[in-house]
């Protein structure tokens, strides 16, 4: 298990990933028990399958969509934990940067069945289209929600300034 100071477990993991994917992935940070990569959209499915089968990260925790109007991107961050081997304490996050005007991304539901509802919520809250998602429709918002996806920064709660 890696202590706070030496991060050799996380570094070894990061090297394995960069060795496998080379320049198509970019390591954003390595912290105790946390690794984050920026992955491009086209190799996402292959990256996720590699993550689950070779590295043993098989337990999906959450899918978060973050809207960056200044950089005109929507970031979809997948957090995947592991239940089975020595990486149990590590949470592997990989993010995909999508253009803000038409954010589409292939769905990871066939690989991680647990992210189905998370992806539906991100679709509903940020307007990210997940291609190939079994049931991409409204989840939490009321049926007659006519406004823009609420978690975008340009949606303001009425009566409250930013």
């Amino acid at each position: 298990m890696s202590s706070a100071q030496n991060l050799e477990v996380e570094k070894a993991l990061a090297d394995k990933v960069t060795a496998r994917f080379g320049d198509k992935v970019r390591l954003s940070y390595v912290k105790p028990h946390r690794i984050r990569f920026d992955v491009s959209k086209d190799i996402l499915l292959e990256f996720a399958r590699f993550l689950r089968d070779e590295l043993g990260f098989d337990h999906p925790i959450s899918v978060a969509g973050v809207d960056y109007p200044k950089r005109n991107t929507i970031e979809v961050v997948y957090h995947i934990g592991s239940c089975s081997n020595e990486y149990r304490s590590v949470v592997f996050a990989f993010a995909v940067h999508l253009p803000r005007d038409n954010p589409t991304i292939p769905t990871l539901t066939p690989i991680y069945r647990g992210v189905e509802y998370h992806e539906r919520e991100t679709f509903e809250m940020l307007g990210v289209i997940f291609e190939g998602h079994p049931r991409l429709e409204r989840l939490l918002l009321p049926e007659d929600w006519a406004d823009i996806p609420p978690l975008l920064k340009d949606f303001h709660i009425k009566g409250r300034e930013e």
């Binding site: 028990h33 946390r34 098989d58 337990h59 999906p60 925790i61 959450s62 978060a64 973050v66 809207d67 961050v77 957090h79 934990g81 239940c83 089975s84 149990r88 304490s89 949470v91 996050a93 991680y112 069945r113 647990g114 992210v115 189905e116 509802y117 998370h118 919520e121 809250m125 049931r135 409204r138 989840l139 939490l140 918002l141 009321p142 609420p150 978690l151 949606f155 709660i157 409250r160 930013e162």
Partner: protein, 382 residues
């Protein structure tokens, strides 16, 4: 050709026949439930067998994550505990750890012990509430009354420490809001010892009761691989034989100094999912008693400025709440209000597991499967 009698359309809330095609009846169960919260489950039934179950959450959705972006880190405390007031320390714990990492302030040792004690007390409070509702779901009124009475012992302790019975708002970045009153330790030990003897009573009336066993053993069996791939967590995961407890896997605060066992069972059916939380309550009592002895004296809170700010960074913190792994992903862009807060709550992660388990189950088994999922609609909808 079904004759539609206009005047006899006395449709009762909660039981609404939407359509009949090829013998598949679509029932919508809920949104009023005898158990908890508002949550609708659209169930396609062929005779008595459920062909497909589509959970339809969202009745108590309030947009917590959007509201978080309009409040600074302190004002978010009473706000963020609303989704799960039965386990309010459990849902605030990761938020407080994440904000401490963002603002990088140190927490005094005594505060860490108090936090562990309050988190464990809240775990038991929720487990008892959940067990009580499980009892009333199966028609066992005594199993509703006993946990509710025993829960009062722990609520009394929590109220003594934090000042409020349920919505404690007791955890703050930098420690806890106030120190424990002086006679807390002596009263807590007395209450917990009696609580443990009360827990043992549940075995005869509930877990060994043949009728309860007939309703839950072999019902909704969740295999180990499905549990992991579907992202199940907490007692649901551990009941399927996966030993994954964040307090052991990634210990936070002082959990690495306390020794306790992680309870797992292999069957993965509703009985196991009802049995694991019960054993975990014994472990929680063990943890609290150890923590009460080891608790050093000293300050309980590091002073905070009026508007604490974090740097441009993102933090992902997770904690083992009563229902399982509860994680916060907070992105901060330097000003006192968080840029984005993402709650990954265990109830929301049980939805795919519920849909998977209900497919093929009998309609009569639905209550025991649905409620063994540890599902809390208010928390899942956020």
């Amino acid at each position: 050709m079904s004759i539609k009698h206009e005047d006899t359309n006395t449709s009762v809330p909660g039981f609404h026949m939407e359509g009949e095609d090829r013998g598949i009846l679509t029932l919508s169960v809920g949104p009023q439930h005898p158990g908890s919260g508002h949550f609708r489950l659209i169930v396609k039934v062929d005779g008595d067998i459920i062909v497909e179950a589509l959970p339809d959450p969202g009745y108590v959705h309030r947009g917590e994550e959007k509201m978080c972006e309009y409040r600074n880190y302190i004002q978010n405390i009473p706000h963020l505990e609303r989704p799960m007031i039965a386990d309010s320390c459990g849902i605030l714990y990761p938020y407080v750890l994440a904000v401490e990492e963002l603002i990088n302030i140190q927490v005094p040792e005594r505060a860490k012990y108090i936090r562990v004690i309050m988190a464990e007390i809240n775990r038991c409070i929720f487990e008892l509430y959940w067990l009580a509702i499980y009892g009333i779901f199966l028609g066992h009124s005594t199993m509703f009354m006993w946990p509710m009475a025993d829960r009062e012992l722990l609520i009394d302790l929590a109220e003594m420490a934090s000042g409020a019975r349920v919505t404690h708002a007791y955890f703050v970045p930098g420690g806890v809001r106030n120190d424990l009153p002086d006679n807390f330790v002596e009263k807590a030990v007395r209450h917990l010892k009696y609580f443990r003897s009360r827990l043992k009573e549940y075995k005869d009336i509930f877990y060994d009761n043949p009728l309860f066993q007939s309703r839950t053993i072999g019902v909704g069996v969740l295999r180990r691989e499905d549990a992991i791939n579907l992202g199940a967590t907490g007692p649901v995961l551990r009941a399927s034989g996966v030993e994954h407890d964040i307090r052991k896997v990634e210990p936070y605060d002082v959990y690495d100094e306390l020794d306790f066992k992680v309870i797992t069972m292999k069957e993965g059916d509703s009985y196991a999912r009802a049995y694991v939380p019960w054993l975990e309550m014994f472990e929680s009592v063990e943890i609290i008693l150890q923590a009460l002895e080891k608790m050093p004296n000293g300050p309980v809170r590091t002073k905070l400025g009026p508007n604490p700010k974090g740097g441009v960074a993102e933090v992902f913190k997770r904690v083992e709440a009563a229902r399982g792994e509860l994680a916060y992903y907070i992105v901060s862009d330097g000003n006192p209000k968080p840029y984005r807060v993402k709650l990954s709550v265990p109830s929301f992660r049980e939805l795919p597991v519920m849909a998977h388990l209900l497919k093929g189950a009998k309609l009569a088994d639905m209550p025991s499967i649905y409620w063994s999922m540890n599902y809390w609609p208010v928390e899942a909808d956020r």
